[in-house]
Amino acid sequence: MKNQMLELVIALVLIALLLGPLCWAAHTQDTPVAIRGATILTGAGDVIDAGTLVFEGGKIVALGADVSPPDGADVIEAEGLYATPGFIDAYSHVGLGFSSIWHRESLMAASRRIADSLDNPGDSNWLRSGVTTTYVSPGGQNLVGGLGAIVKLTGSLVRNAAAVSASFGETALNAFEAPTTRQGMIAILRQTLIRAQEDALEGDDGCTFAQVLTGELSFRVLANTPDDILTALRLAEEFDLHLVLDSAAGGHEVAEAIAKANVPVVVGPTIIGIGSGGPYETFALTPANAASLHRSGVRIALSTAGSGAGRSVVMEAVLAKTHGLPEAVALRAVTSDAAAILGVGDRLGTLAAGMDADIVLWEGHPISTWGETTRVIVDGETVFER
């Protein structure tokens, strides 16, 4: 009995600890807070030495080298630390259970809202590592897997239907009995897009594809061979799609074509288990892809395709830098460029007045082996302090 009571108390304490960060984020702070003395990396390319950043009501109100904390503000001393926007993982499956990651009934599930399947998308490990926002994508097993969502790692939804995520290549091909070829899959997609053009597609799918055709919803394609990438570019041109490429193993081989089409790439994770991957992906998802694409003029974001736990887009950024991506570009790829590619650049990804107060303080440079988060702020609330 005594033990049971003890267990109950421990359980309650644990629940309180787990829910704590979420509850803090639920209400917005109303006293202004100033972070003073940090090296501010705005995420958009600017560096402010010994700067001060002020936020209030969950939004950034001012920042600069000559900004002073307003009267009555709480002051966080940050001399010797770096301040960056909260990092963005531009493709993940966080919060998606095994059963909801893909739709088993049909190859096409364009109107399936991934936000409806999210089971507590908060992740404290990701928050601790400095990642505050992610695009949660359906899995790559469906040719068209549904509407992905943008969430903060505190669990709050930024955008419910953020993009339509599709998948070309082996993963989708292996998940269903028919069609049996890549060209068979693409023919189905092309026919669907044409029916949507002619307003012949009914119900939710008609609505979703209509928004894809106007470019209101970006069309994201997971493609992991140069051929699949070129197919995506072909379709995008044919239907004037607002295309974003995901993962893009082998993208370096067709980087010129991607750049010419002005299509951004959410570069796939390099830190993966390789047992399940095909032979080509294993070789081609290298840490040099990001730099190759950047050199060809492609705008990139980085991603983990992870569901929390071990993967962190911070580590992907360090690897990309090691393999030739300029440090400043690597930072943009997990902040302002990622936000722009996701379509939320007006709210996230840059430290500027009016933006969400999603801020990370770092000891050591954020894009480095030994850089360490010391404080993570989401919507103006400190959700982690080391």
Partner: protein, 420 residues
Amino acid sequence: MRERDFFRLLVGSLLAVAACAPPEGGDGGVLAIVNAHLYPVTGAPIESGTLLVRDGKIVEIGTDVSVPSGARRLDVGGRSVIPGLVESHSHMGFKQLNNPSTGRNNNEVSKPINAEVRAIDGLNSNDAAFSLALAAGVTTMNITTGSRSPNSGQAVVVKLRGGTVEEMFLAEGGMKFAMRADREFANFPESVDAVKELLASELRAARTYLEARGAAEASGSSPPPRDLKHEAFGKLLSHDWVVGVHTGDASGMRHAIALKKEFDLDLYIHHARNTNELVDELIAAGVPISFGPILPYLGRENLQLMGPVHLAERGGVVAFHQDHPDAHQYFLRHSASLFVRKGMSEQDALAGLTLNPAKLFHLDDRIGSLEPGRDADFVILSGPPLDWESLVEQVFIDGEEVFNRSTGENAFGQRVPEGW
């Protein structure tokens, strides 16, 4: 002489003969790595040092080493030099990257006990993953069959020098047990208790078999017929072989420790996810661990990282592994720095990649450190060894270059794409 030692001597002398041909004139094929930041692992790092190699062996290391005239000099301009990495748990060569249709050799699952099954008999040295492993700085690898049977067979330790499996052979890798109760796999009894009892009964049977063979020899009567399974278990009882136990949860780890005590086995635990809960017990029983796979399963913030940190602090032996193809071999070195972020000393983290995995197989008198007399297996890196910003530039095995990033050449001859 124990059979393992005999094999080592045999293979060692064959290699010595092979390595005797000097690479290019000079003083008996002496190679001098000069102006190097040396990490011996068994001692403190040496700045601006020299590593002298002759006939595939390290002959001298330090700041005050005179380079014989005619020696081949390689000035590495202050770059880091560490021992070749030792991957203590791999399935490379069973499930080939370049030929996925031949992926059936990872697990013998036709029965629970497979002690007579030898990894070397199913190994394909043409697996393109070996080239990638060299690019990661791995020079030695324990290759073992999978964990879908309580006993999946015998492991083999190979060097990644290219060529055939025979040419790669370094030592026998002992045996593998899997201490799990996984209903997913038909070969497992329903509880970890029962798995332990199954393995214990095999060890007892082997003891009876050895006694009967010994008694027959002593009395001159005809011995019981040879039985490869009993012989294999017998090598665990005689300490000729080590046994690695696949287990992650605390219960499985405790059963492994109990098995070691009951039969006085030379035993280590691999995976060892819950080391955090068992530091005292592992120290008391003198059980080393091989922790992994790490990236991408454990990132910077996972609390399981603390187990190895605490075990190493207490003087326990901690090796790391990536378990190809479960996780990517390239990130073995990267994984080690995660523990340094959590408080492990750089020396212990480096030992986890080199000396400690060598210790698991009692090969630390040959590999895993930079000391006179050791095999000249080493890696040249562009910067500090545990920095993710550093790249593996060159890899040497037995004094011969087996990987060169700038030329793209490697001993297995498969193309390594840019970025690995």
